[in-house]
Amino acid sequence: MIVTDTRTGRRPGTLGDSAVRPDGVAKVQGTFSFSSDEQIDGCVFGATLRSPHPSARIVSIDVSGAWKVSGVEAVLTAEDVPGNATYGLVVADQPVFAADVVRYVGEPVAVVAADHPETCQRALAAIRVDYEVLEPLLDPEVAIRGEHPDIHPDGNILRHQRIVHGDPDATGDVMVEGTYELGMQDQAFLGLEAALAIPEPGGGGIELHIATQWLHEDRRQIAACLGLPEPKVRLVLGGVGGAFGAREDISLQVHTCLLALRIGRPVRIQYSRRESFVGHVHRHPARIWMRHHATTTGQIVKIEARFVFDGGAYASTSSPVLLNGITHTQGPYRCPNAVVDGWAVRTNNLPCGAMRGFGVVQACFAHESQMDRLAEACGLGAVEIRLRNAMRTGDTLITGQVVESVAPVARCITEADALPLPEEPVGGRDGDPMRLPGGAGRTSDAEHVHRGIGWGVSIKNLMYSEGFDDFATARCRLSGGVVTLKFATAEVGQGFVVIAGQIARSVLGVDEVRLDTVDTDIGSSGSTSASRQTWMSGGAVDAACRKVRERLFDHVAAQHGLDPLRLAIDGTDVIDTMGTLRLAVEDAVMGREFDETVEFRHRPTEDLDENGQGNCHTAFAFAAHRAVVDVDAELGLVKVIQIATAQDVGRALNPLSVLGQIEGGIAQGLGLAVMEEIVRNAGYVRNASFTDYLLPTSLDMPEVVVSLVEEPDPQAPLGAKGVGEPPCISSTPAIVAAIRDALRHAGIERRLDRVPVRPSDIAL
């Protein structure tokens, strides 16, 4: 029997259905096992000694005190690393342990293992490190000017890339410019870094249970540092409590394995929240100058820009983050001429790398602020200026690359514009303070509140760029009407665990789909980042399922003397489209097993040349955000009332999951707009706790109204674009624009060129 949803005609659990995630109930009820919940008997605990200085020479390390603490089983420093002394996603420039110098506050210097976490803390306190404090390099401009000695053998410039496109001398009748700054945002995942390493007897190999975004890349770097061949390092995905880019780099992986191999027993390390703030990379703080030239009617003629990204002490992914930033200078708008200068530099600040939006968040805040200034200069509205310049499929980017993706920019803007404005009156209802700026603090009365509306529109590249061999692997087994899928795709909350099953049910007409353990026993799926897994791992699962279906059809066709091309899946049956044959998939399989493994690749990309020209990206997604905010201008407090968004999703394979990504991304974009920043002073972190690093609460989250723009992308294996990043990219500038608008209604002009916008930026 085929059960269908009477409203949609869709079989539950297939593509297009808002199928319920297999991990959903457990996560809501608190029974889901996160990486930090994993413990086994006889487990030893590890902990990390970190640099208290942003820059210092290590004169000596005396670990003898740690050994005197009862219960200590191992103390390791740089000299105990058997393989490569350094690791890194792009270049291996980051030491497993600092040996001669420390380059940021929080850099690992030593690890200990002991019978209890408390013993570990005592052992760490007993290690004596003699530092000679050095003058830190903290200002990126100083690094660019070459005014500070190299703080690393690889130099202080992580990447310098120019883009020169069209006529660099072109000018427009209208010019607007600004310098924009973004603070350092933390991914602030709730599930802290945790790992459990189990050594093979004899120490010839290791198994690591780890919350990560990319098992195989972790394995490559871990094996190199351990001096083991990759097959001797097995990784199993632990329950991941959020990632947002912060689990792309190595943090505690190598340390945990080293300790376990040294003492021959399982070792587990878990970071505290305070430690987590220095234990992973962050979003790059940035300073971006932009000058837009346009005609008097608002057509963009040329954009000049200069990007400076502070990469902190180590390279991480600064190079591709910078590339992403500068190649998205124009935003989702046509731009015939451009001159862009991009710098990513090394400093003694915290290392920065991947975070949701990956360089485009920074570019978007700048270009969207510029679009509003351009609108004002041309006497146009925020919507009109964007529609006049909206990019279309076939347009050429400032890199010379032609946009082949579906590019419904104008449709995103008009659909967002058509969404209803909030019914909530200015200043809330019934004097409920929770509806006013300041919320529970009862700071504001309705008379203090002004409402503003602002826009942000974005373009985001999907998948990996610049010639990277980006692929995903999946295995599909069909046996007795049950499909088992295996892949190494990290589920970090995005929902691939539900999408994978929906694909198999749609392609193979089965109801029951089992997901095998996520580990390195199969080929790589690539990283859960760059909005890529639905496209890439989804593409791999789809291809593997289709291959199994071909073999099933061959088998059925042979049994019934039919041409396999006549066969199709209808509901849960195999049918002959030109005859009467109809049999349940389960019966069609008839005791056989079909087993296929597929590697899926997106089309290749290229490096940029010295003028920043080249087909460096593979596909793009777009989103428009309209923010409505209420602002208490005197106190500088903001209450975001509504975000309306229309997002180019290609095809919504699971509308509820898409909605979840949109709402979550908006929360993160709102955080960057008005509260989230790692506050630093001379290289030291001032707010490494959730007491002072503020994340939006439910009282800060606005109503979100959504229009899904579904134009299936012919390049995408399932027609679906990645949806994870766009919601957090243009929501930030939309909120800031709405604050500027509200202030204008209050008779106050503020540029608000820096995020997060602080109350003092508005009020003073």
Binding site: R274, G438, R442, R686, N687, T691, D700
Partner: protein, 287 residues
Amino acid sequence: MAVVIPIDLDAAMRAASAAPDALILAGGTDVMVEVNAGQRRRALDSDTVIVLDRVRELRRWSHDPERRTVTLGAGVTYTELMTEPLASLLPALAEASRTVGSPQIRNAGTIGGNLATCSPAGDTLPVLAALDADVHLASLNGERTLPVGQFMLGVKTTALTRGELIVGVTAPVLRGAQGYAKVGVRNAMVIAIASACVIVDEDCRDVRIALGSVAPTIIRCPDAERHAAANLDWDRGRATPGVAAEIGERAAADARPIDDHRSTAAYRSRAVALLVGRLVRRGFPDA
């Protein structure tokens, strides 16, 4: 480490006397954060922890209608302060309690704990200061009562002596408007960047103003209070915007704020001036 869990005040005092350096645990919403952050490690190594949440005398509160006072046990939680009838007896204290943390924190955190921690950002403290509340302390050596202004000595520094416990606090039930307002960067669950409490005593035609997060500890604003008493239209219960703003400015002049990772001194001064002015206008609408 020894953990003592007394069930009455006498046992608690005996425990505190026996271990005068003991770590006192009430709701745990400050102490446990410090423990988890590793800041209390040495204390935990050697000391005793005295857990107060089962001491029944501390969990009670009473209303004396004749003397028009409420006496709160030190273990009364923020949630209880927000609940009727306490919320109507001490409305500013209820408003301040609502600004503390999340529901879970408010269910655990206590007024005695807020006093003992004595953070300049403690949310109930400006209200207690503006109410001229009395803090009751007790040890095996006897009981004593201090005006809250003499109890709070500085940043996380109080008049508590070794072996002494906070038993409770007595505050007057006043006729007149009162309110608490607090600026943070988030709409809830946030540490105060600046806060203010304005209490009106209509019977005495008196206004009390206290500020939080703008000095090492909570401050009162005598100049602004005198200006308010003299310039508010008591008969009609009205104030011009100019009078309210002037009261705010005078209050802010007593603030001694600093720059830190949460905000700047300049913003804090501006904020308390506005908050006080607005609180006055809530009690005394347009003339």
